[in-house]
Amino acid sequence: MGKNLVGNHIRKLRFNHDEMTQQQLADKVGVTRQTIVALEKGNYSPSLELAFRIAHAFNLPLEEVFFYGDQTKE
């Protein structure tokens, strides 16, 4: 399985939003907790629609939640 090039800051953002749980975020954006787990691990690149829903859940623009390439050392 090739490594996904689309990364995200979901784990950090959850922590900054009153330590939101994976289940709470999942309920907010309409997916299962498994999908949030896969996103945080970098095992899955979401659809554009889901990416926007997650960004809206954090009240942030898309590019502050998701990035393309390796920014994990930030």
Partner: protein
């Protein structure tokens, strides 16, 4: 381990148990010996496939209900009530692999007829292909839930 991963493992194990137990039940009933009518042999294989389908559907439903009860009791979590985009994508990949395996098995089964193999060889290959394709689908799901898409 998440619900979907556990469910895939249970699915693989139950598919193997159902198939093996059904085969052990049906094997002694094969109409062998001299002077057996071909219609009897066809009846045997027809009922084998039909009852296997019904038996596996019922067994899968029962095992799924038991699994959900055990999952709720052991984790205090509810199972997901819907399939989201990741589930649908993984389902599609599992179905693709499963279908591919079955088609290969089907072609082998037809090949056995081309090479004048006995009729039971064709049925055994076809039924085995169905079983292997079922397991392939569950293993594909487990792989993608663990390793990503």
């Amino acid at each position: 381990m998440t619900y979907q991963e556990k469910k895939s493992i249970v699915s693989v194990v139950s598919a193997i148990l159902i198939f093996v137990s059904y085969c052990l039940y049906m094997y002694p009933r094969y109409p062998g010996g001299e002077g057996v009518e071909p219609s009897e042999v066809f009846h045997y294989w027809g009922s084998f496939v039909l009852y296997l389908t019904l038996f596996s559907i019922v067994a899968h439903i029962i095992i799924s209900i038991i699994f959900n009860i055990v999952f709720r009791l052991t984790t205090n979590e509810k199972e997901p009530a819907f399939a989201d985009e990741l589930d649908k994508l993984i389902d599609l990949k599992a179905f693709r692999n499963s279908f591919f395996v079955f088609v290969v098995g089907f072609l082998f089964a037809m090949g056995s007829l081309v090479f004048y193999q006995p009729l039971h060889v064709m049925f055994i290959i076809m039924i085995s292909a169905g079983f292997i394709s079922d397991v392939t689908g569950s293993v594909t799901k487990l792989y993608h839930y663990r390793r990503g898409v």
